[in-house]
Symmetry: C2
Subunit: 408 residues, 2 copies
Amino acid sequence: MFENYKALTEKDAVEYARSLPDLFAGDAELANREIGDGNLNLVFHIVDQKSGKSVILKQALPYARVVGESWPLTLDRSRIEAEALKQAAKLVPELVPAVYFYDDQLALTAMEDLSDHIILRKGLIAGKVYPRLAEDLAKYLAHTLFFTSEYYLDAQEKKENVRRFINPEMCKITEDLVFTDPYYNAETNSFNPLIRETVESIWRNHQLKREIARLKESFMTRTQALLHGDLHTGSIMVKEDSTKVIDPEFAYYGPIGFDVGAVIANLFLSFVSHEAHTQDKKRREEYQHWLLDTVEQIWNGFEREFRALWKEHVKDEMWSVPGFLDDVLFQALQDTSGFAGCKMMRRVIGLAPVADLESIEDPAVRAEAEIKALQIGEQLVLKCKSIQTVSDLTNLAREILGKGLTVK
Amino acid sequence: MFENYKALTEKDAVEYARSLPDLFAGDAELANREIGDGNLNLVFHIVDQKSGKSVILKQALPYARVVGESWPLTLDRSRIEAEALKQAAKLVPELVPAVYFYDDQLALTAMEDLSDHIILRKGLIAGKVYPRLAEDLAKYLAHTLFFTSEYYLDAQEKKENVRRFINPEMCKITEDLVFTDPYYNAETNSFNPLIRETVESIWRNHQLKREIARLKESFMTRTQALLHGDLHTGSIMVKEDSTKVIDPEFAYYGPIGFDVGAVIANLFLSFVSHEAHTQDKKRREEYQHWLLDTVEQIWNGFEREFRALWKEHVKDEMWSVPGFLDDVLFQALQDTSGFAGCKMMRRVIGLAPVADLESIEDPAVRAEAEIKALQIGEQLVLKCKSIQTVSDLTNLAREILGKGLTVK
C-alpha cells in the first residue's frame, strides 16, 4: 500500500473525481475547493456546476502539523478511517457519510458531500438547538459499539477485527495528549497564563493522576469495542434534521466509555463556555439546560438501545448471566465519567484547545470558564468510581458552575 | 506458511534431525522415540547413541483430539509457541528450553531436550519438594510479564506484539473450557457422578457466574502482557535444581493475573489431592504446608521482582505517579484469585481433568477432594474483590480444607 502515493494538487483532484465510476457525467463542469485545514489531510470539495452533484475527496498527508510543529504520521490511518466508516455505514447508514471509494495507493477516500451540514461545535458556539442530536448520537454509540464488541461478535471474528484496527500512531497521540502531557509540565502544553495556579494544583494532585494513570492503561489495554476514537463535537456534522459522524481516523479497539465520554466532555465544555458566550441570562440558562439534558438523553438513549440490542442478540452462556449486562453498563458509565474528565482537562491545558473556549476573547473571562472546565474534569475523574447514574455527572457540572468562582 | 506441511514419520524425523546444522556429527547413530500424547502435537526425542547429544522435535498437528473427539486446529500455534519461547529465552534463558530452529513449513520446533527433568505435576503427585520452584517461577512470571507489558515497552512496539500474538483458536479453547462450559450443563463437561449436587449448586449460583463472566471478559479484552496462557503444572518441568517452563502455544496478550492464577490453582489442586494421596498425617501436613508456602513465595517473589524491575525501568510520566504500581499489583492479585478459582473449577467439572485428582482411585474419596477443590475455587472467585494479600488466598484454602466436609 501507498507505494505510488503523491499528494494531489487541486487539478489532480478534479481529474481524479472525473475518473470515478458512476459519479459525474462526461460533460460535468467540475469546480474544486480545498477545504481541509492542511494539518493532517487534504479535503477537496468538488461540485459539478451543471448537475449540482458533488463529492468529497479526503487524502491523508504523510505528516501532522500542529502549532508550527510537524512530525511524520502513518498513511495507514486513511485505511482505518475508510474501513471504520464502511463498518458504521453497515450499522447506522443514516448517521455517517457514504464512502464511494477508497484508494489504497493515494490514501484517499471519496465520500458523500455533507456541505449542507455544519460542524456541531460551530452550531453549539452559536447557541443552536438540535432536536435530533441526542437520539441520533445515542443510536450511533449503541449500534457501533455493541455490534463490534465480543458481546455480539464471534470471538474469533472480533480478534481479527482487533488486529485489523491496531492503530499505534494515532493511539500514541491520544496517549500523550489526553492521558499524559496535560498532567505535568510538558513542552506540548499551552494554556492561559491566568489559570497557572489551577493547572499547577492538578500537576500536584497525586490522587487525581493515579486515577488518570488507570484510565490511560484502560485506554491502552481494553479491546472492548471498535471505537471512533476521537468523538468530539468537531467530528460530528449536523443540520436541523440530520446528524453525521465523520473522521474516524483514530478508530481502534478500546473501552466503550471512551467514545461516550468524548461526546459528553465536549458538551460540558460548551456548557461552561456559554457563561461567556451568552449574555442574556434566561437564554443562557435555557441553552445550558438543553446541553445537560442532551448529555442525559445521550446516555439514557445509549443505555436503552444497548439493552435492547443485547436482549435481541446476545447468545453466549456467560454474557447471558443475570446481572452481567448491568455490570457492563455500570462500568461503561464510570469509565465515561473518567474519560470525559481527562478529555475536558486536556482541552484546557494541552496542545489542542477548543474553539468553544478559545473564542472567548477576554483572557480573564476565558480563564473563569477554563477553571470551571478543569474543576468539572477533575471531579469527573476523582469521583468516577462512585458515579451511579448519568444525573450524577450533570449534577456535578451544574454544581461546579453554580459556585461562581472567580480568577484569583 | 505451512503450504508444504506434512506430519513427519519417525523415520522422517531422524532425517530431519540429521540435517539440522551444528547439532549432530556426520556419523551420529540417531535413535528416535515419539513421546507426545498424539492429541495435539508429535514430539520426537532423538538421541545420538555415540555422543549422547539429543534434541526434541515438536511438530504441531492440524487438529486436536480430546476424549475421542477431534477438531481442526491452526498450525499457527506452533509459530506462536516458538516466538514466545524465543522471547522468554531473551529474558529468562535458564527457565525455558533453548529453541534451536523453527520450521515455518512443517510447524516444527527443534529445541533443547529436557529429559533429565520431569513434569512438575508428576513430582507433586509423588510428594516431592522442589526448593527452587517458588523462586524460579516468581522470576519467570515477573520478567516475562513485566518486559512484555506497556509499563516497559514503547507503546507502538507493544501494539505490534499484540498483533503478532493474536491467537484466536487457542484462546477460544480457554474461553469455552475455562470460562463457559463448566458453569452450565454443557456437553463437554465430565465429572464424578458423586459430586453432581455441588456442581448443580454452582450452575445455579448467579452471583458466582456474574463474577466469572467479568473474568471471562477480562481474559478476552485486556492486553496487559504477553502471557504463557496455559501455565499449569503440566507446563512446567523440574529437577531438584532446575525449573523449565514449556509449551506456550496458548500465548497471547492478556491480564497478568491469568498466568499467576494458573500456577496457584494447580498448587491448590495438588493441596486438596494430598488428602487422599498421602496417608501419613504428619507427612501430608508437612507437604501441604510446603505447597501453601510455595504459593505465598511465588506471589511475594513475583511482587518483589516486579517492583524492582518497575523501579529500574519505568520511565513513563503517568506510570510513575506514586501509588500506581501498588494499584497494578493489587489488581493483579485480585485477578489472580478470580482466575485461579475458574481454573480449579474447570479441572473438576470440565473437559480436561488433572492427574492429581484423577489418580485418586476410590470415587468417594476422589469426590471429597473434588468438592474441596470446587469450594476453594468458588470462594476464590466470589471473594476476589476483597482479597488484600496472598495470605488471604492460602488461608481460604486452609480453612476450607479444615472443614472436613464429607460427600452427601
